[in-house]
């Protein structure tokens, strides 16, 4: 599971209660910065990008997600950070910034090369395509549970459309 190679246990923040997308981006960006994966300026650049090109993603199931990220120049080494929220926080829809998407799961992507980590990105979309996996992640209480859920994701979904 390539996602697990990039998702840092120290950057998994479960059941957090925050009020805004900015607070979540600061939390996750701060973790990745403290771990050395991203450069100074990553958080501000990610916030700026989120404001002009949002990353909220309406999913088919009960919960929606957001994938904040920014240009490779702010990244030292690829990594992922994950937050799940006890209350939905509003992100704007990726393809329509007039639409608000209440989000319970945030996966922050720090990518160091264009077109790299394709397998990892595909896996993230596989996670998003499975409402049951998203639900399990949102319910998870420990980082170990998250790792187990992701490790247990077997074959791609048959057809979820």
């Amino acid at each position: 599971m390539p996602v697990l190679d990039f998702l840092k246990q120290e950057a998994i923040c479960l059941q957090v209660d925050l009020g805004s997308s900015e607070e979540i981006i600061r939390l996750l960006g701060g973790k990745l910065h403290a771990l050395g994966y991203v450069k100074d300026g990553f958080i501000e650049a990610t916030l700026k990008r989120e404001a002009s090109m949002p990353t909220g993603l309406p999913l088919g199931g009960e919960y929606n997600a957001a994938l904040p990220h920014v240009d490779i120049e702010f990244v030292n080494k690829s990594a992922l950070a994950l937050a799940t929220l006890t209350h939905p926080v509003v992100f704007k829809n990726m393809v329509d910034d007039s639409e608000e998407v209440p989000v319970r799961m945030v996966i922050m992507l720090a990518l160091d090369k264009p077109k790299s980590q394709i397998e990892m990105l595909k896996e993230i979309s596989q996670i998003l395509k499975r409402p049951e996996t998203v639900r399990a992640l949102v319910a998870a209480q420990t980082a170990q549970e998250v790792v187990t859920i992701l490790a247990d994701m077997a074959a791609p979904p048959v057809n979820s459309s």
């Binding site: 999913l59 990726m94 990105l121």
Partner: protein
């Protein structure tokens, strides 16, 4: 002649990578030759200058490019993937 598809998102590193790979695979399966150009939304006008047949985007497009535009969120969320892929193939088969 191969069709050119511009696949765009905000940064050209994350969501468009997933979409580009899905389109390449589907076109190959359908026996359609495509050139996929991945870029940031802001770079679309420059790439359009070289000619393109279709834009598939996961970010908001704030101008009319004069060629078909299809939203590619389905490749990330799985919602309506078949329909979106059918729309893409319809443009590419023309």
């Amino acid at each position: 002649m191969a069709k050119t598809v511009i696949v765009s998102c905000g940064t050209a590193i994350a969501t468009s990578t997933v979409v580009a790979s899905a389109i390449e695979e589907a076109a190959k399966k359908a026996g359609i030759q495509v050139i996929v150009k991945q870029c940031k939304a802001a770079e679309i006008p420059a790439i359009l200058a070289d000619g393109a047949d279709l834009i598939v985007t996961t970010s908001q497009l704030r101008f009319d490019p004069g060629i078909p535009v299809i939203k590619g969120l389905a490749f990330l969320t799985g919602i309506g993937t078949e329909l979106v892929m059918a729309q893409i193939m319809e443009v590419l088969k023309k």
